[in-house]
Symmetry: C2
Subunit: 190 residues, 2 copies
């Protein structure tokens, strides 16, 4: 998506260790018009697919997730990061490693809001190692639901998570795909 790539080039900040900060429009300050246009692009990409729920993870997936749910006319469910390992019976749960924060979170969704009737579009802001996406997919599978596909804002292709999931049969669509990054340049995959 041309517009997203331009924003990344113009406003993204590169940090050592493969970190791309897009706090200016995606992760801390959010441009809602861009969130809406990304959602519309996902609607175009997944045209004709039966999707009845959008699933994301707090916190930075929620803005794009709610816009996606809005244009798909379905509910958004956001998975929560739990501080405790004492997980209640009424939730689906999975362990997810965070690349950015260097820790592990227990991620939960209430069983009430995710079940076998669900045809899910997973939405997230970033895809790098694929840990979050794999975790969300595992939650849907625990619930007996179907993952129709994923809609990601920014994929760091060079970290391999997206391609591993595609090879495992999952449909993964990313609106901006970064092939490589140095400390002062970004190259997109074509």
């Amino acid at each position: 998506m041309e517009k997203l790539e331009q924003r990344i080039l113009k406003e993204g900040e590169l940090r050592p260790g493969g970190i791309l900060k897009v706090d200016g429009f995606l992760n801390h300050r959010i441009d809602p018009q861009l969130s809406y246009e990304m959602a519309m692009e996902l609607k175009r990409i997944y045209e004709g697919c039966e999707i009845n729920k959008v699933l994301t993870i707090e916190a930075s997936g929620i803005a794009m997730g709610v816009m996606a749910a809005f244009v798909f006319s379905c509910p958004l469910v956001f998975a929560k990061k739990s501080k405790t390992k004492n997980i209640a019976d009424d939730v689906w749960s999975v362990e997810v490693e965070s690349f950015t924060h260097g820790n592990t979170n227990t991620v939960i969704v209430s069983k009430q809001y995710l079940g076998p009737e669900d045809k899910i579009l997973i939405v997230d802001d970033f895809l790098a190692t694929g840990a979050a996406l794999k975790g969300l997919k595992a939650l849907v599978e625990q619930a007996g639901g179907t993952v129709v596909g994923a809609g990601i804002a920014i994929e760091k292709v060079f970290q391999g998570g997206g391609d591993a999931l595609r090879q495992a049969g999952m449909r993964v669509e990313s609106l901006a795909r970064i092939a490589s990054m140095t400390d002062d340049s970004i190259e997109f995959a074509r």
Copy 2:
């Protein structure tokens, strides 16, 4: 707002200790159409006011916040809950007590995204003791910005936070105002 009140009556779950769970449409599973209509109602209420930024707090304020920013055609900034007390120089920060979780969070916003030029609408899902709203107001004041007002989905009037802030001169508008709650009934304020 009639539609929100009806959803609260139909889907809200009352728990001992003054807890109202609205996980079905506001806090965990989100109805994006309702989020949009709440945003449009805030636009009607704040018609004619100069607002150039919406501020909320992660995670459950983000969905309503991004819709509000969308209809106001301005950015959303969401304050983050920080695990660490070692706060960097480049953020505004404040301590906020959580009524629901019974703990205290350090809440931060990057100085880059909140400044003296900002005319802020604070958006949040709940207003009870007013701790979160007071904290967000303090962040705006640290930055030298102006709080135009607050737009809240559900105010628990009986907990007093909203009226205390109004008496201190803040404009606080809530879309559903709960005057009283028992373990099996809800009464709205008129």
